[in-house]
């Protein structure tokens, strides 16, 4: 059975990403939730299910969200029937949406608030961040003892991808530049100053061939979206954002067990998603491709079918992915420019896809955007998700 057209996003909320030492994490959650809930015309009491996703900067805060803090903070005690956390790291956007769509489709929930909040920039020290991410999702028996951490993880894929496709360091840098072009137009982005390929190429080498400006920056942030059935959606908005197709594969836990670090399973995921939506990559107006590092954005873009393998670097270099270009890619600036809020990096991309389809993207609005694709992945790229959204449900 398909969930095509069986669920819709009717409200979105987001607070700016960046360094906000004075902003408590719960503030990001509550403010995002209020924005997302206020977008619908009904009362907040309609929310009968809340799906918070995981927070990693602080185990105590995460436990609080697992055990209903947001229910109480929003004044929904005794109204919300289920507060149930759904977490798969960076792909939580996709898994939350899928779970929410399933619940509204079978009538187990009417309106579901999905939300994320994180404090990775100011809730941890820099070395604390490196140390956290040298263990989170990295196998403690088979990788941590060898000095594996997130930069080396990304560098391993980048090295092999360059070797197999001939993609250059300058083309990888061009992905960062493209994302920055979009972030310049995004008031919620952490980095909005123009960025050049030279600046990326001159930035500090971390793990060859990965440089510091090819790396995302940990950020504080929060975002939220409300999911309901298409029938209820019509009561609230003339522009519901329908779920049209989704595909995914979980391929490894230990990063070094991934059979193809230059592809992962985005091609299979995309095949399923496009088939379910009955659309092709040529139909897509805006592509919110999960980045975190430029190599993954190229892999996600190419494997989803938007261009041939190995040709992505050139499209990014030529500016075809910039505002006004033929391929609007990662239009919030991605984790490279909007900031990496843990699982929220993916939620921000999903919210951006919905924002573009709702026509609310301001200066960076892609004209007449009807169909969006977005990709996500969690942990050390343990899974590959492709999801298609649209303002109409094609046959």
């Amino acid at each position: 059975m398909s969930l095509k057209g069986k669920a819709a996003i009717i409200g979105i909320g987001e607070v700016p990403s960046g360094k906000f030492p004075e902003r408590a994490c719960i503030v990001s959650a509550v403010e995002s939730a209020v924005m997302a809930v206020k977008e619908k015309k009904k009362k907040r009491e309609d929310i009968d299910t809340i799906i918070p996703t995981g927070t990693v900067y602080n185990a105590q805060y995460n436990n609080e969200m697992v055990t209903g803090r947001i229910v109480e903070e929003l004044g929904l005690s005794g109204v919300v029937k289920n507060n149930v956390s759904v977490f798969s790291g960076g792909s939580s956007s996709s898994t939350m949406l899928k779970v929410a769509a399933g619940l509204v489709n079978i009538g187990a929930a009417k309106y579901i608030l999905c939300l994320h909040s994180e404090k990775l920039a100011t809730g941890l020290s820099l070395q604390g961040g490196i140390d956290l991410f040298s263990t989170a999702g990295i196998a403690k028996e088979w990788e941590v003892p060898f000095g594996q951490h997130y930069s080396s993880v990304a560098a391993l894929a980048t090295q092999r991808y360059k070797y197999e496709t001939g993609t250059t360091d300058e083309q990888l840098a061009a992905v960062c530049v493209s994302n920055r072009k979009w972030a310049e137009l995004n008031p919620n982005a952490m980095f909005r100053k123009p960025l050049s390929i030279d600046e990326v190429m001159e930035s500090k080498m971390l793990s060859t061939p990965l440089r510091s400006k090819m790396s995302n920056m940990l950020a504080d942030g929060g975002s939220a979206f409300v999911v309901t059935s298409p029938e209820r959606a019509a009561e609230h908005t003339d522009k519901p954002v329908y779920l049209l197709g989704s595909g995914s594969r979980a391929t490894h836990f230990v990063y070094s067990q991934e059979p193809d670090l230059t592809r992962f399973a985005f091609a299979d995921a995309a095949k399923d998603a496009f088939k379910e939506a009955n659309l092709t990559p040529q139909d897509i107006d805006v592509m919110e491709i999960y980045d975190s590092y430029p190599v993954y954005q190229l892999i996600g873009f190419e494997e989803s079918g938007f261009c041939k393998r190995g040709e992505g670097g050139q499209l990014f270099s030529e500016g075809k992915t910039w505002p006004g270009g033929k391929y609007p890619v990662t239009t919030n600036g991605g984790m490279l420019s909007q900031g990496h809020t843990g699982g929220g990096g993916g939620v921000a991309l999903l919210v951006e896809a919905a924002r573009q389809l709702m026509g609310k993207a301001g200066e960076r609005q892609v004209k007449d955007a009807s169909f969006a694709a977005y990709t996500s992945t969690g942990g050390t790229y343990f899974d590959s998700h492709v999801t298609i959204l649209g303002t109409v449900v094609p046959d």
Binding site: V144, L206, S207
Partner: protein
């Protein structure tokens, strides 16, 4: 800053034969008795056929570098003194992949598909890591 101890592998009861072997200077992997599948890292069941009939075999210790990186900045605390060091995914001739370090060579000389063979580096009296050097 106080020196941070190297992380030791967080082992499991069924993986102990692997670490016992590396301490003796041997690299062992698993083999499924029912379907012949070579298995690394050590599992409870054969990922190919679901069998629990699994035995240990000594690996050739030879393989190639699938991919690698030279860590030069921002390493985890316990590895700051090791920089530059090489992290690599090695494909053993038996067909399994493992994460390791490439040692005993200029990091700049490491490349994809480079032939390597196993060597052993002890962390402490209890644990020895399988690492690789140019063949």
């Amino acid at each position: 800053m106080a020196k941070v101890e190297k992380p030791i592998p967080e082992t499991n009861t069924w993986t102990e034969p692997f670490w016992d072997a590396t301490r003796e200077g041997k690299l062992v992997i698993q083999k499924c008795v029912d379907c012949d599948q070579k298995i690394f890292y050590p599992r409870l069941i054969c990922p190919s056929c679901f069998s629990q009939n699994i035995e240990w075999i000594e690996a050739s210790g030879k393989g190639t570098v699938y991919t690698y990186t030279v860590v030069v900045n921002n390493a985890p605390s316990a590895f700051l003194d090791d920089m530059p060091y090489v992290v690599a995914v090695v494909r053993l001739d038996e067909g399994v992949q493992m994460l390791s370090n490439i040692v005993e060579c200029d990091p700049a000389s490491v490349h994809c598909d480079m032939p390597v063979k196993v060597a052993f580096k002890s962390i402490n009296d209890e644990y020895t890591l399988p690492v690789f050097k140019p063949l």
